[in-house]
Subunit: 191 residues, 2 copies
DNA sequence: TGGCAACCGGGGCGAGCGTTCCGTATAGTA
DNA sequence: TACTATACGGAACGCTCGCCCCGGTTGCCA
């Protein structure tokens, strides 16, 4: 296919500008922003965007994969934390906050307008594995109910991000507290 | 404005067919289904749809308001149930199930593509009041944590509907159990 | 510095969708 | 049955958006 000859300097510059702008715009407005708008804000023609990313979905992919990598990295950092509860709940909170900040990422995780699992099964799997690791440790320590799977936890994260999008990020404390408390195992019924 | 002279028989028939089809289609596919598609399935021209509903949003409105009325009715029925916990949690479950069945309603409640609060403030208020009534009784009985407002509960319902849409309705039991358990007040710490 | 390949910009095309218009058909009435 | 207000169908319009193309420009190397 494409012998990847090094890019010319201006091409490289433009490619990076497009990526940087798309980062911000997708985070702020979601994945439905027109390509022309991204091109305009990057000070570039639409054709230039399509030369670097053959399709709008390819642009999604470049950005979302980077974001997911970041999430996985964060999960791995937290896996090194001593307290299993702090590690698991820290990641959970990080995820919901991220969803409030980055609209495009939240949409991608929820499968709206872009399907990670099809586009990059590897990234999706790494993400699920990272959740599974934190979850297993938390369950072994008895700080998360034992009947939950990693898929359940991801579903809950998606739901929490939807709540963030629905209501502002502010004054969402009690709502997220409900979910966090629900994750804890039933305390033994009073004797 | 329009002196509402009675409709001609065929007009009345068509209007009802359009409404019936739109009900099903919006529930199954969501609010983004094209008007032409609805007209086609109703065996009617697009112009006919627009004569009865001046705008696509007006068609949303007719349907969503009817659905919301149904929800409010259900809430009022449950308000008559003796057990406050059964009443509140029964409504919560009803809502999440409804969101799984009726995609269009879920989108409307979440404010995606149609804004109930602007289109029909009355219906929105009746809905919130219905929640508030069930919530207050449940809180007074000590079966729901006291720091939650009706808006918080609605936010949680929207989030649970998003979870339903994300994962299938099947195998969502543990996930919804997390939220339901989180709604309960903290049991007193062991003495 | 000259020449060529690589790259750029932005106008244009086609598809999808909400909405409108108008010639035709039909229900209701005398 | 004949007449008219009313309603119908679906072609057409305008707009948005993803994507392509071509005439002009510019980085790179000899």
């Amino acid at each position: 296919m494409s012998g990847d000859r090094p890019l010319r300097a201006d091409a490289r510059r433009n490619r990076e500008r497009v990526l940087a702008v798309a980062y911000e715009v997708f985070a702020a407005e979601g994945l439905s922003v027109p390509v022309d708008e991204i091109a305009r804000r990057a000070g570039v023609g639409a054709g230039t965007v399509y030369r670097h990313f053959p399709t709008k979905e390819a642009l999604y992919e470049a950005i979302v994969l980077d974001r997911v990598d970041r999430l996985v990295g964060r999960a791995r950092d937290l896996a090194a934390v001593a307290d299993p509860a702090e590690a698991f709940y820290g990641f959970f909170t990080f995820m919901t906050d991220e969803g409030a900040t980055d609209k495009g990422l939240a949409e991608a995780l929820a499968g709206a307008g872009f399907d990670i699992e099809t586009a990059a099964p590897g990234a999706e799997r790494a993400f699920m594995d990272a959740i599974a690791t934190l979850l297993a440790r938390a369950q072994a320590a008895g700080v998360v109910r034992a009947d939950l799977t990693a898929a359940d936890v991801k579903t809950l994260m998606v739901g929490c991000q939807a709540m963030q999008r629905y209501r502002g990020a502010a004054a969402l404390g009690p709502v997220l507290a409900v979910v966090r408390d629900g994750l804890r195992p039933d305390r033994p019924a009073e004797p």
